[in-house]
Subunit: 548 residues, 2 copies
C-alpha cells in the first residue's frame, strides 16, 4: 500500500499563513492558503506567504484534487491567488467563505471560476480522499474542519475552533460528526493550538452581550464599536444592544460595510429593516440615538479608528462624552499601536472601554479544556498540534501526553516537515524549506535577509553619501557633495558637514588611487562616530574628470 | 502666602521617564530623573529623557534644594546625568539606590560627590520642604515614597509601590507612616497608576516560591533562570530553591553580577558562602546540580538569553533537557522579542517555563484593590494619578471617584501641566512642553520627527540615488551611476537598474536645465512604482562638466 504523507507548509511554529498538503501516492489535496502579517522588524514587508517550493518541486508528480478552505480569515485565505499561480485545482469552501474568497480573487484579478461551495456537514469525494466536513465555532460564521478519509486511515483537521455552547448564531460545533470519527477510528488529529497556554475554557460569545449591555446603559453620548471587519457575529450583538437601547447603527469603513452586506445577502446576518442608517444621517441624529461600527481595532494607521484618534477622518470626529468600545484583542505585535490608539481617544475626551476593563471581547480559539475535549472525542492514535508558535505546539503536546497519548505518538514539528503515515506508524521525515516568503509591493520573495538588514541599518542610523569629482592627478576638482537622510537634522548640522568635507579633502590629498573609496569612507565613518556616536551607512561615489 | 506648584515633567501619559518638580515660591525639589525605552517606531533612538525646558527656563529663579530618588530602576534614575547638566543640586537616595546611582554616574563620567544616603523612614529637611520618606514594596529593594510637608500642606508621592504582605525581604510597606499622613491631613496624593486596569490585588512575591518549587522538582537537567538584572529578591528566591534542591548557582551577565555583588555588600542579599560558583566550574558540574542566572528576559538581542536562544554565546549553550524559567513579564513593546526568544529556546530542545504556564513572576505594581487601600489610608483632598499611560490615569481617577473623591478634585493631566495648590484649592494651569527628548548616540534632542520620518521611509522602502554627469549642452557625459540600498536585492535586479538608466537617458535628453532634477526623479519614481509597487527615496545628484 502507498504511504500517506502530510506536509504542513504554514502555521506550524507561527500564528498565520496556514497551509497543509495531504497526499496519497501522487494524489493530493491542500487545506487552506493563508497569509501572515509581518512582525515589526520585517521592515517594509506587506505580508508573508508560505514557501511553496514543495508544491513547485512536485508539480509534475502530484495530481491535486482540490484546495479546501476552512474559513474566511486572511490567515487561511490570503495567499489563495499566490497558490493558484503554482497549482491548478478547484477550490472548495462553505458559502460565506466562498463569498469572501470571491472578493479576494477579484481584487487580485484572478478567475473565480474554480470556486465550488458546499454546506458544512457535507461529504466531498475527490480522488482517494473523502472529505467529511464538520461545522466548528470560531470568530467568523460558517467555519469547518475536515475528517479526511484516506486508504491509510482517517485524519482529522480541526481548523480554527472553539466549543461555544451559546454562539451568537446558535450553531454549535458539530459534536455528532466528531464523535462519529472516533467510531471510525482516527489515525491522526491535527488540532488548533493558538491558545494552548490558556487554562480553562474560552468564554462564550454570549458573555459579550452583558458587557455591551452595561456599557450601553451607562453611555450618555454616542457609542463607537471597533472590531474586526470580518466579525459578523459581533455586528449581530451590537444590533441587539441597539434595539434594547433604541439606537440606530451606522457603519464606517468599506471592508466592514462590504462584509456586512455579503453576510446579509447570504443569510448569515439578519438585521431589522430600518436599523442601519447612512453615516451622514447618523451624524445629524441625537447623540444617544446612534452607534457607529468602525474598523481599526488593531490600531492600523489607515483604518477609521486610528484616523479618528488623530483627528484625521473626513466626516467623523470624537466628541467629549463619546464612548468607544474596543471589541477585539490586540494580535501579537500590535499591542503598542492599540494602546496608543486607546490613549489618544482618552486624550480627546472619550470614555474607552477595552477588554481589561469590561467583557467586550472573547477569543475565537479553544483554551486548554476545549483542546482536551477535542482529544477525548476524537481519540486519535497520533497527535500533531498545528496553528501556533512553538511554545503553543509544545504546550498542546504536553496536554495530549497528560491525557495518555504516548510521547512518541505526538509530533511537534515545524513547517515543511514531511510526516509519513502507514496504518500503524508515523514517521517524521526530512524537512522542506518552510520559512517566510515576503511580499513587498509587486515582489514575491525578492526581499530577503540582506535587504531587510540594510533597511534595519537605514532605519536606525540613516545614510551619508559623499560624491567626489577627482581629476587624473588625484585632485579634488570641486567641493565634495553630500547627500544624507535619517542621520541628523540637516538644518542644524552644517558644522558637522563642514567637518566631513574637510576630512574628505584631507584624505583625498593623501590617498592612493586604488584605495580611495575605502580611505574616504573609513575616515568619514571614524569622524562621524567620534562626533555623534552613530554609524550611518556611508558610501563614496567618485567621479573621474579630466583636467585641462 | 505663596503658592505651591507641582510640575510633572515625565511619567504622566506614559510609562517611564519619571520626573516631578515641586516648588514653593522660588524654592524647589525634584523627585526622580528617569529614562524611557523607545517604542518600535522611534527608529534608532537609544532612549528618551524628559523635556527639561521648564527647568532651563526657570534656572535663575529657582533654588533647587535636592533631587530625591524613590528607587533604583532606570525609569527613575536613568536621566540623572542629563538632569545634572541642567541643575546643580544634591541627590538623596536610600543606600541601594545610591549604590546604583553611583555606578550610573561613574559610567557617564559625572562626579558622585553630590550623593547623600538616607534610610527609608528618615525625615530630611531641605529649604521649606520636610521630606518624610516611607518604605514601599516594589520589585527592587529599598524603595521609598515621600510625604512632602510644605507651608501650603502635605503632599504624598507614592513612588512605584505594591502592598506585599509577604515580600521576600520581609519588609512590608510602611503602613504606620501612611496612616500618620492622614492624621496630619493630606492636601494631595500622587499615586502609581501602572496597573490601574488590573482588578484585585497583585500577588505576593512569595507565590513565586511555589512556582519555582514545582519547576525545580520536575527539572532533570540544568536550570536557567532569566530575570531583570535589578531583581535582587528574585535572586534570593532562586537561592532558596537551590538550597532545597541541592544545586549551585552561576551568574552569567555582567550587570546581574555587579548588582548581586552590590546588594550583598550593602546587606540587601545574603547568600550562603559556597552557593555561587564561577561559570566555568558550573559547566563542568552534573546537570542536575546547577542553576544559571541570566539576563535577557525582555528578549534584548545582546543579553545572555537571546544569545543563547540563537547559539551565539561564547561559553554557554542550550542542551536538550534544560529547563528555562522566564521569571519576568514582557514590558509593553517587547512582547514580540520575548515570544521569539521563548520559541527559539523550545526549538533547541529546552523546556521553557513562562508566566502563562506557571507562576514564575508577579508584578511590582499595585492593582486596583491596593490603589483603593492607598487612597483609604492617605485620604487626600486632591488626587493626581501618576506613572501610567492616559488609559491608566483615567482608570485610576475613576477608582478614586468611586471612593468618594469629587470629580473636580481629581486631575488627569499630562507631562508639563502646572498644578497650583493653595490650602483649599487646586488649579490646573498652563502646559509646558512635556514630550519626548530622544537620545541617539551622543545627540540629545537633535533627532526630531523629521529625521524619524526619513528613517521610516528608508526602513520600509530603502533609497535610490542617481548620479549624473551633464555637460554645458545638457548632454549626459557618461552612464548614470546608481547607488541603492534597502530597496531590492541588487544582484537580481540588474534588469530593473538597466530600465532606470534608460529612463534617465531619455528624460535628460528632453529636460530643461532648471527642472532636470525634478524631471529625472519623477520619471524614475514612476518607473519604479510601476515595476515594483514600491516607493523608495529617490535623489538625483547632477554633476556639471565642461565638454571640450
Amino acid at each position: 500500500m502507498q504511504k500517506l504523507r502530510v506536509i504542513p507548509l504554514g502555521g506550524l511554529g507561527e500564528i498565520g499563513k496556514n497551509m497543509m498538503v495531504i497526499e496519497y501516492g501522487n494524489n493530493a489535496i491542500i487545506i487552506d492558503a493563508g497569509l501572515m502579517f509581518p512582525e515589526s522588524d520585517m521592515l517594509g514587508v506587506d505580508y508573508i506567504i508560505p514557501d511553496m517550493r514543495y508544491l513547485l518541486d512536485n508539480r509534475d508528480r502530484l495530481n491535486i484534487h482540490g484546495i479546501f478552505i476552512t474559513h474566511g480569515h486572511e490567515d487561511h485565505t490570503g495567499a489563495i491567488h499566490h497558490l493558484l499561480d503554482v497549482v491548478d485545482a478547484p477550490i472548495f469552501a462553505t458559502p460565506l467563505t466562498a463569498g469572501l474568497l470571491e472578493v479576494k480573487l477579484r481584487q487580485n484579478k484572478r478567475t473565480t471560476g474554480k470556486l465550488t461551495t458546499f454546506k458544512a456537514g457535507e461529504v466531498i469525494k475527490r480522488g482517494p480522499f473523502e472529505m467529511q466536513s464538520f461545522h466548528v465555532c470560531h470568530s467568523i460564521p460558517d467555519c469547518v474542519g475536515f475528517g479526511i478519509k484516506t486508504p491509510v486511515g482517517l485524519i482529522v483537521h480541526t481548523g480554527d475552533f472553539k466549543f461555544d455552547q451559546t454562539p451568537v448564531d446558535g450553531w454549535t460545533t458539530d459534536f455528532a460528526r466528531l464523535a462519529s470519527f472516533a467510531e471510525q477510528g482516527v489515525l491522526a488529529l491535527f488540532s488548533d493550538s493558538t491558545n494552548a497556554d490558556r487554562p480553562g475554557w474560552t468564554p462564550s460569545e454570549r458573555l459579550i452581550d452583558e458587557g455591551f449591555d452595561r456599557t450601553f446603559r451607562r453611555a450618555k453620548g454616542r457609542i463607537f464599536v471597533a472590531t474586526f471587519a470580518s466579525l459578523i457575529s459581533r455586528v449581530e450583538q451590537v444590533t441587539r444592544a441597539c434595539m434594547n437601547y433604541d439606537r440606530k447603527m451606522a457603519i464606517a469603513g468599506t471592508s466592514m460595510s462590504e462584509n456586512v452586506a455579503m453576510a446579509q445577502k447570504l443569510g448569515y446576518l439578519s438585521l431589522p429593516e430600518d436599523l442601519i442608517v447612512p453615516l451622514d444621517r447618523a451624524l445629524r441624529m441625537p447623540k444617544d440615538k446612534v452607534v457607529f461600527m468602525v474598523t481599526g481595532s488593531q490600531g492600523e494607521p489607515t483604518a477609521v479608528l486610528s484616523r479618528l484618534s488623530q483627528k484625521r477622518h473626513n466626516t467623523l470626529d470624537i466628541l467629549s462624552g463619546d464612548t468607544i468600545i474596543m471589541s477585539s484583542h490586540a494580535i501579537p505585535g500590535n499591542e503598542v499601536m492599540v494602546q496608543r490608539t486607546i490613549n489618544r481617544l482618552f486624550q480627546q475626551g472619550a470614555e474607552v472601554i477595552y477588554d481589561a476593563v469590561e467583557q467586550v471581547h472573547v477569543s475565537g480559539h479553544a483554551s486548554q479544556e476545549e483542546m482536551k475535549l477535542m482529544l477525548s472525542m476524537v481519540r486519535p492514535k497520533y497527535f500533531i498540534p498545528v496553528h501556533g508558535e512553538l511554545r503553543h505546539l509544545h504546550s498542546h503536546a504536553r496536554l495530549a501526553q497528560n491525557m495518555g497519548i504516548p510521547r512518541e505518538n505526538c509530533a511537534v514539528v515545524e513547517n515543511g516537515t514531511i510526516l509519513e503515515f502507514s496504518k500503524d506508524n508515523m514517521k517524521i521525515g526530512e524537512r522542506y524549506p518552510g520559512g517566510y516568503v515576503f511580499v513587498d509591493g509587486a515582489g514575491v520573495g525578492d526581499i530577503g535577509p540582506a535587504v531587510i538588514r540594510d533597511r534595519e541599518i537605514l532605519a536606525n542610523e540613516g545614510f551619508v553619501i559623499i560624491i567626489l569629482a577627482i581629476n587624473q592627478y588625484g585632485e579634488l576638482m570641486e567641493q565634495p557633495g553630500i547627500i544624507s537622510r535619517g542621520f541628523v537634522f540637516l538644518r542644524e548640522s552644517e558644522e558637522l558637514f563642514e567637518m566631513i568635507r574637510g576630512t574628505v579633502r584631507r584624505v583625498v590629498g593623501k590617498s592612493r588611487n586604488g584605495r580611495r573609496h575605502e580611505e574616504v569612507e573609513e575616515a568619514v565613518s571614524k569622524l562621524i562616530f567620534q562626533e555623534t556616536r552613530r554609524r550611518p551607512m556611508i558610501f563614496t561615489h567618485i567621479h573621474e574628470v579630466v583636467a585641462d
